[in-house]
């Protein structure tokens, strides 16, 4: 009996495969106020940016703020942290070349710190309108407050 059933099983398998391929399920609905793809992307990006910024900034308050933010951001992670942006020219993220240059030139450091603050503030404002998960939104707010104060502090 088995040989006669095989074509039917094959047809069923094929139908299943075709059905799966054609289902074209809509993308998963973002969880309402949950820790979703946008929150995950923001947290990973911000940890990467802050860790890179720690190699650039030398004002004690800025260093302290970055460390506080990284600790808060890490609490939000729902999976082991992966740096997806290493080596990239991201808004607000100092590049290795900029960090090297800053080490030899106080003027360059001042300029790159200013760019880090203003560009990351733009990203934070964008995140502020996109993020719905309350604990993540709290960290966004904290970081925005830090950047605004830091910009005053580092005014030439």
């Amino acid at each position: 009996m088995r040989p006669r059933r095989q074509p039917r099983i094959a047809a069923l398998l094929l139908a299943g495969l075709t059905l799966t391929a054609c289902q074209q399920a809509p993308p998963p609905t973002p969880p309402q106020n949950g820790y979703g793809a946008t929150e995950r992307a923001f947290v990973e990006l911000s940890i990467a940016t802050d860790e890179q910024a720690l190699k650039l900034v030398d004002t004690p308050e800025l260093v302290e703020n970055r460390k506080t933010e990284i600790a808060e951001l890490r609490k939000l992670l729902d999976a082991p942290y992966v740096n997806n942006h290493a080596g990239h020219d991201m808004p607000g993220m100092p590049t290795d070349a900029e960090i090297q240059l800053a080490a030899t030139s106080p003027d360059a450091r001042k300029q790159f710190v200013h760019a880090h603050l203003t560009e990351q503030l733009e990203v934070l404002r964008s995140a502020g309108t996109a993020i719905t998960h309350p604990p993540t939104a709290e960290v966004v707010k904290l970081m925005e407050q830090h950047r605004a104060a830091e910009l005053t502090l580092t005014q030439p």
Partner: protein, 278 residues
């Protein structure tokens, strides 16, 4: 005196193998399973709807091809019904790559072709249409060298320059070009995944692995940049040439994708832009 002739034949077959040129045997026609979309640069934004969804302005710079509306907030729903700049016009999919710079000046690619191929799997008749809304990322934006990169840079009209995973020096009068093959085996379930990669896989020994059992068209991106000479000043917004990567958000109308897979890939025929073959 046969030796030189043999050497020549060997060299020719090596060149053919290197360039992936099908060698016709005994007068048989060359059969290639292929359909194609030729696109233009649409716009440039610091956005990435796959890696940084909804976070406008948070990404390194990308060059967007195809769908004119693509931005950080793009979804399947927002992309459909929009227009693009590909030939055929029915392909309103979104494609994007990191922006190339020479000494901080952006360089836009002038040749932008997406091949949809039946190669890579032994049974092209089993290839299924790319699922509507599927997102695929190819290449390694985090590559730190050749070992973790699948980028390929070469020179158009200068085949003697060896391809490399980083930028190559192309002779005057030629253009820098890059190839990127996207994974073509789907897990049959997810249109995206948390790392944006694990729902797709490359084939193994001519077949899709059991973890990713559904073969879909192999997407090959070929970009040509109007640059040559010393590549020292070149970089991508993601870093060196080795970090070249490409993103694809499929919004081909279902019927158009299905027709092309059936008419071109399943039967191993080379189709024109309209998805027809002679």
């Amino acid at each position: 005196m046969r030796k030189p002739a043999l050497q020549l034949a060997a060299v020719l077959s090596m060149i053919a193998a290197t360039l992936s040129i099908p060698v016709a045997a005994q007068g048989e026609p060359i059969r290639v399973a292929e359909f194609v979309a030729d696109c233009q640069l649409s716009h440039r934004l610091p956005d990435d709807p796959i890696v940084l969804p909804n976070l406008a302005g948070a990404s390194h710079s990308h060059d967007f091809f195809g769908n004119h509306s693509t931005n950080a907030r793009s979804t399947q729903q927002s992309l459909e019904g929009q227009t693009g700049n590909c030939d055929p016009a029915v392909d309103i999919s979104s494609y994007w790559v990191p922006t190339m710079y020479r000494n901080d000046t952006e360089i836009a690619p002038t040749g932008i072709t997406f091949y949809y191929l039946g190669e890579g799997v032994n049974n092209p008749a089993g290839i299924q249409p790319t699922p509507y809304g599927l997102k695929i990322v190819a290449g390694n934006a985090k590559a730190t060298g050749d070992a973790d990169s699948i980028a390929r840079w070469s020179c158009l009209h200068a085949g003697h320059v060896n391809p490399s995973k980083n930028f190559v020096e192309c002779p005057a009068g030629t253009m820098l070009e890059t190839y990127l093959d996207f994974p073509q085996c789907w897990n049959g379930r997810d249109l995206d995944s948390a790392d944006h990669k694990s729902h797709m896989s490359y084939p193994v020994a001519g077949g899709c692995p059991s973890s990713h059992p559904v073969p879909v068209p192999k997407l090959r991106m070929v970009l040509r940049y109007p640059v040559n000479g010393n590549p020292a000043g070149l970089r991508l917004s993601s870093g060196t040439g080795q970090t070249m990567h490409g993103d694809f958000f499929n919004v081909w109308p279902r019927a158009e994708m299905e027709r092309r897979v059936r008419n071109c890939l399943n039967v191993v025929m080379k189709c024109d832009h309209a998805g027809n073959h002679g």
